[in-house]
C-alpha cells in the first residue's frame, strides 16, 4: 500500500492544484484536463520545484511521439516522477 506522500499521489495532487479539479490517474493531460504544450512547460517548473531537479518533464516529453503525447495520462506522468525520485 502506498504512503499518502508517495510520488504518485503527490503528482496527482500537484496536477489537481494546477488544473483546479481533482485528477485521476486515467485522465489524459490534454484531452481531459485541457493542458496545452505551453502549460506543460509551466507544469514542468512546478514539478521540479516540488520533486527535485531529477524530475525533468521537458526531457521526458521530448522523448515522446506525437501519438504518445496526445494520449499521455496523469498516471504515466506520476510513474515517470516516481521513477526519477526512486533511489
Amino acid at each position: 500500500m502506498r504512503a499518502p506522500d508517495s510520488p504518485v499521489a503527490g503528482v496527482l495532487d500537484a496536477l489537481g492544484q494546477f488544473v483546479g479539479v481533482p485528477v485521476a490517474a486515467g485522465d489524459r493531460l490534454e484531452t481531459d484536463l485541457g493542458l496545452d504544450s505551453l502549460e506543460l512547460a509551466t507544469l514542468a517548473a512546478t514539478l521540479r520545484d516540488r520533486f527535485g531537479d531529477r524530475v525533468d518533464l521537458s526531457d521526458y516529453l521530448a522523448g515522446l511521439e506525437l501519438d504518445q503525447l496526445i494520449e499521455l495520462t496523469a498516471g504515466q506522468l506520476a510513474a515517470f516522477v516516481a521513477e526519477r525520485t526512486r533511489e
Partner: protein, 405 residues
C-alpha cells in the same frame, strides 16, 4: 498587368486575408484567379471571381484540441487535400497561365505545381504556427510534421530532398500576416534558410460582405463595451464557453455592456446589458469596443489589435495557443484556459484589461506596427515585385538562349 493564381484551403480564416490581397491586386489592374472548393469560395469571393474548382472535400469542424488538432489538421486535411487537389491545380495553371502562383501554407499542392511548372510562387502564411516554432521542445512532433511533408512529396512522385525547399516556405517570397511587434522575428523547424524570404506585411483586411443590422440605440456610452466571440466552434465546446461567459458578466451590468456572437437560441434569455447576436457588424463595432474575448484565431486577434482593443484569449487549437501567448507577451491582453476558466477568472481578466492602462497602450503600439507594415498594399507590392523580377529574368534567359543559338 500580371496574372496571379491563388491556391487556398476551404477555411474562412485563410480565405478572408487572401481575398483582401486579391482585391488590392485587381484594383491595380491585375488579373486574379483561384483554385479551391467552389462551395466555400464562391460566397466569400463573389460572383465575379474566376474559380478553378478542385472539388469539395470539407475539413469538418473538429472537437479536438491542442496536439490532437495538429494531428488531424495534417493527417486528415493537409496531406490528403494536397493529393486530392494537385490535378485540379495543374489544370488551373495550364488554363490561366499565371505569372505568379500564391500557395497557402496549408495547401502545398500549389507549391508542388508551381515548382513543377517552373513558376515563381509565394507562400501565404495565414497562421502563426509555422513561423513561431511552438513545438521546439517536442522534437518528435517536429519530426512527425517533417514526415507528413515527405508524404506529400512522395504522393506527388517527388523526393522531398530534391526539392531544395520546404513546402511551407517559398524560396521566392513568404507573406506572413503579422508583425514582429506581435509575433517576433520568424523562426521555424524547417531547414536553415527557409525563413530568408519571409516578409511580415501585417494583417490583411478586405471589404467584408454586407454587415448585419445592429441595435445601435442600445449602446450606452457610459458603460464599456465588450465583444465575446468564439468563432465557428463545435457546438458542444461553444455552449459551455458562452454559459460561463454569461455568468462572468452577471454582476457587471452597471459598468459593462457585452455582445455575444453565437446562436441566441442556444442560450437562456440574457440580462439587459448583454445582447446575443448570430452575426455582429464587426468593423462598425470595433472602434467602440473596450475589450474582445475570443479563442485566438489570428483574424479576430488582429482585427482587435488593429483598433487598439485589448484581448482576453481562451485558445483551443491550431495557432490559437500561440496567438494567446503572443498577445499576453506583448502586454496587449491576457490568456485564460479555454477548458478550465471559471466565470470569476474571466471577470477578473476582463476587469484587468478594462481598467489597467497598459493593455490598451500595448494594443495601440501593435496597431501602429500593423499600419506601418501596410497589410494588403504591401503584400501586393511584394507580389508585383515577384512578377516583375521573374518575368525580367525569364525574358533575359530567353534572350540569352536565342543569342546562344
Amino acid at each position: 498587368m500580371s496574372r496571379f493564381l491563388f491556391v487556398v484551403p476551404p477555411l474562412l480564416g485563410h480565405l478572408r486575408p487572401a481575398a483582401a490581397i486579391a482585391a488590392e491586386l485587381t484594383g491595380r489592374g491585375h488579373q486574379v484567379a483561384w483554385t479551391g472548393s467552389l462551395m466555400t469560395l464562391r460566397p466569400v469571393l463573389g460572383e465575379q471571381a474566376l474559380i478553378y474548382k478542385t472539388g469539395t472535400r470539407i475539413h469538418r469542424p473538429q472537437a479536438d484540441r491542442g496536439l490532437a488538432s495538429l494531428r488531424s489538421l495534417w493527417a486528415e486535411f493537409i496531406v490528403s487535400y494536397a493529393k486530392f487537389t494537385r490535378p485540379a491545380v495543374t489544370k488551373a495553371v495550364a488554363g490561366f497561365e499565371p505569372d505568379v502562383l500564391i500557395s497557402d501554407q496549408h495547401t502545398p499542392a500549389g507549391a508542388l505545381v508551381a515548382h513543377a511548372a517552373g513558376l515563381p510562387w509565394a507562400t501565404l502564411a495565414c497562421s502563426t504556427i509555422e513561423l513561431t516554432r511552438p513545438y521546439r521542445q517536442l522534437p518528435r512532433v517536429e519530426a512527425w510534421i517533417a514526415a507528413q511533408l515527405a508524404r506529400i512529396c512522395a504522393d506527388a512522385g517527388v523526393a522531398a530532398g530534391t526539392l531544395g525547399f520546404d513546402l511551407r516556405f517559398s524560396p521566392h517570397l513568404v507573406l506572413s500576416l503579422t508583425t514582429a511587434e506581435l509575433a517576433g522575428p520568424p523562426v521555424t523547424d524547417a531547414p536553415a534558410g527557409a525563413t530568408a524570404a519571409v516578409r511580415q506585411v501585417g494583417p490583411c483586411f478586405g471589404p467584408r460582405a454586407e454587415e448585419p443590422d445592429f441595435d445601435w440605440d442600445w449602446l450606452d456610452p457610459r458603460r464599456q463595451l465588450v465583444l465575446i466571440s468564439a468563432g465557428t466552434l463545435a457546438a458542444e465546446l461553444a455552449d459551455g464557453f458562452y454559459r460561463r461567459a454569461l455568468q462572468a458578466l452577471a454582476g457587471a451590468g452597471d459598468r459593462w455592456q457585452a455582445v455575444l456572437v453565437t446562436d441566441p437560441a442556444s442560450l437562456p434569455e440574457p440580462p439587459e446589458h448583454v445582447r446575443i447576436v448570430s452575426r455582429a457588424p464587426m468593423l462598425e463595432l470595433m472602434p467602440r469596443l473596450s475589450a474582445v474575448v475570443c479563442h485566438g484565431g489570428l483574424n479576430t486577434v488582429s482585427e482587435a489589435l488593429a483598433h487598439g482593443v485589448p484581448l482576453v484569449v481562451a485558445p483551443i487549437r491550431h495557432d490559437q495557443p500561440v496567438n494567446a501567448s503572443l498577445v499576453a507577451a506583448a502586454g496587449a491582453g491576457l490568456r485564460i484556459s479555454f477548458s478550465r476558466f471559471s466565470p470569476d477568472q474571466l471577470r477578473d481578466a476582463l476587469d484587468a484589461v478594462l481598467t489597467q492602462d497598459g493593455y490598451r497602450a500595448a494594443a495601440a503600439r501593435i496597431a501602429r506596427s500593423f499600419t506601418a507594415a501596410g497589410g494588403s498594399r504591401t503584400a501586393a507590392d511584394y507580389l508585383e515585385g515577384l512578377a516583375n523580377t521573374m518575368s525580367r529574368s525569364a525574358s533575359r534567359l530567353a534572350f540569352a538562349e536565342r543569342e546562344a543559338r
